[in-house]
């Protein structure tokens, strides 16, 4: 490709600086100061916000959030990989339609969809009504961790499926044949050829699911009944309810750090070795 085409990216490099780097610098500034940063004269630097973060209370919140996000991510992976695999096997003519049908629900407002889940899972919800009709007792489906996980899987599954699908669909079919040829059965071929070759997609998928899952506040609130505090809710509360932007920024920066670190760890397994997880879709 033409070296001159580098210039194409220059406008965006400027854009990135203004709209991405600068805001994050602002957030960082908030996190290491007390009160407003608008007035340069009154700025006071402090590390207290970070110290506060390491309070067992917030560490507990962080660990709980990571756990929940991990579980959701694993569910998405386990459910999503077969989906991606099956879609990649579908006749090319219908493939795009299936993919679109897959994304389509995401065009309905997330809040509405989540409310709909409440209608489905509630004590008097659709599932329980159905169970009662069959003579079974009601189950407590809403307002617990499983409800949160269902909600997260529901909302983030496409983020897992799409990158894996992409990785699978661009894989050379001859490689699969070669593996069979060398004596590998379907299982071995999957483990030794298909899976490693789709690893970049899997990694992108994990990142793309883990990130919103760890920072989501709507789903724990609506489907989890806010019974425990998660880091997303914490940040939201700090910014909106408490108005403690300084501590909120510190938590946000810590969360970014957590995500960036896990990303860089994951990228070690990326066969393309491009860094930055550039393998989404």
């Amino acid at each position: 490709m033409n070296k001159k085409q580098k210039f194409f990216a220059y406008p965006y490099v400027v854009w990135m600086f203004i709209f991405i780097v600068l805001p994050i610098v602002l957030v960082f500034l908030y996190s290491i100061t007390t009160k407003e940063v608008n007035n340069i004269k009154t700025i006071n630097f402090t590390l207290n916000n970070y110290k506060l973060f390491f309070d067992p209370l917030y560490i507990g919140v962080t660990i709980r959030s990571i756990n929940l996000a991990l579980v959701s991510t694993i569910f998405c992976l386990v459910l999503g990989y077969p989906i991606a695999f099956i879609i990649s096997k579908i006749n090319i003519k219908h493939r795009n339609t299936v993919l679109l049908l897959f994304i389509l629900p995401m065009w309905m407002n997330m809040l509405l969809r989540t409310y709909a889940w409440m209608t489905i899972l509630g004590n008097n919800g659709i599932i329980n009504n159905f169970l009662n009709m069959l003579g079974f007792p009601s189950l407590r489906l809403l307002y617990n961790n499983s409800a949160i996980i269902i909600g997260m899987v529901y909302n983030f599954l496409p983020f897992m499926v799409l990158p894996i699908y992409t990785a699978l669909s661009k894989m050379d079919q001859h490689l699969v044949e070669a593996s069979h040829d060398l004596g590998a059965d379907n299982r071995t071929t999957f483990l030794r050829v298909i899976l490693p070759l789709s690893l970049p997609g899997v990694i992108s998928g994990i990142i793309m699911v883990f990130m919103p899952a760890v920072s989501s506040f709507v789903i724990p609130r609506l489907l989890g009944g806010n019974r425990s505090l998660y880091i997303g809710t914490l940040i939201e509360n700090l910014f909106l309810v408490t108005g403690d932007w300084n501590f909120g920024s510190a938590v946000a920066i810590m969360m970014m750090l957590i995500i960036l670190v896990s990303m860089s760890i994951l990228n070690r397994f990326d066969v393309d070795k491009e860094g930055g997880g550039s393998n989404l879709w």
Binding site: L57, Y58, G60, V61, Y115, M118, G122, N123, N124, R140, L142, Y143, R221, L222, G224, G225, N226, R227, S228, L229, T233, L234, N237, F239, L240, V241, T242, G243, D244
Partner: protein, 326 residues
Amino acid sequence: SSGNKDKVVLNVLNYGEYIDMDLLDEFEKSFDVKINYEIYPTPEDMYTKVKSGATNFDLIISSDYMIERLINEGWVLELDYDNIPNYQYIDEDFRKTAFDPEGKYTVPYFWGTLGILYDTTKVDGTPTSWDLLWDEGYAGQILMMDSQRDSFGAALKKLGYSLNTTDESELEEAKQLLIQQKPLVLAYVVDEVRDMMIGGEAAVALLWSGEAVAAMGENENLAYYVPEEGSNVWVDAMFIPKTSTHKKEAEMFMNFLTEKENTLLNIDYVWYSTVHTEAINEVDEFLFDNPGFNPSDDILERTEMFRDLGDSLQLYYRIWTEVLAN
């Protein structure tokens, strides 16, 4: 519709679903003003948005303690009540409130109480106390609010303290009470309480009166009371922030909304208690007899208004976080 550039544009900020939108159209038509109408979900969102100075709002409708905060910060303009002749219809009780003690800044809009909505088919007897929210017999059927002031309000009142206490030991007691209650609670929600109570998903809920009234309109098995230990009364009011560039038109709009006919239209949409002395007599029977909509005076005597707590608010946040994170 009309592209006239010289038309006055009035920037209005309100809770979602808190006005009959036809009134906006009508006001625009009769006064040749254009209304830029924006909505927000919570008072805190409103505060952030107003303080950001992004939009120069001319009229805001919000809740007592947030208004107090803005007044204290010097963000609210004094009103010229001559421009609001309909102010005469506002109930004297609401003209001088805790957040506007001299009645200089606000025109009350709606008001209500904090109380308990319960399902008569699931709850025995006629409860009158906050204790119902701590009744282990309803474990897993109790809905609390994801709102620290309201939840703490219930606990503090149960303990006989003030809603606005800043005494750490009192708050600590309230915190323990809330933590103790946690296993009984189905969920800490705000938006869905009404629907859940109508649908029979829970037995008991901490709720605002207007929501309770709306729920009772849909499900006749529901009942509402303001606990005898006392509770919170709140008032939402209109005010003009200092950013306004069309104060006169904003006051005209306040007057317009305070007209009896318009108030009635709004009541029909919003279902909260009205501050309008004339309109109250013309609402339909269901509302008039409903203790949620039209509480008796002795209930009101037991209630207290939320006050802006200034920096003490942080204390509430911290312990509420501890309750939730527990």
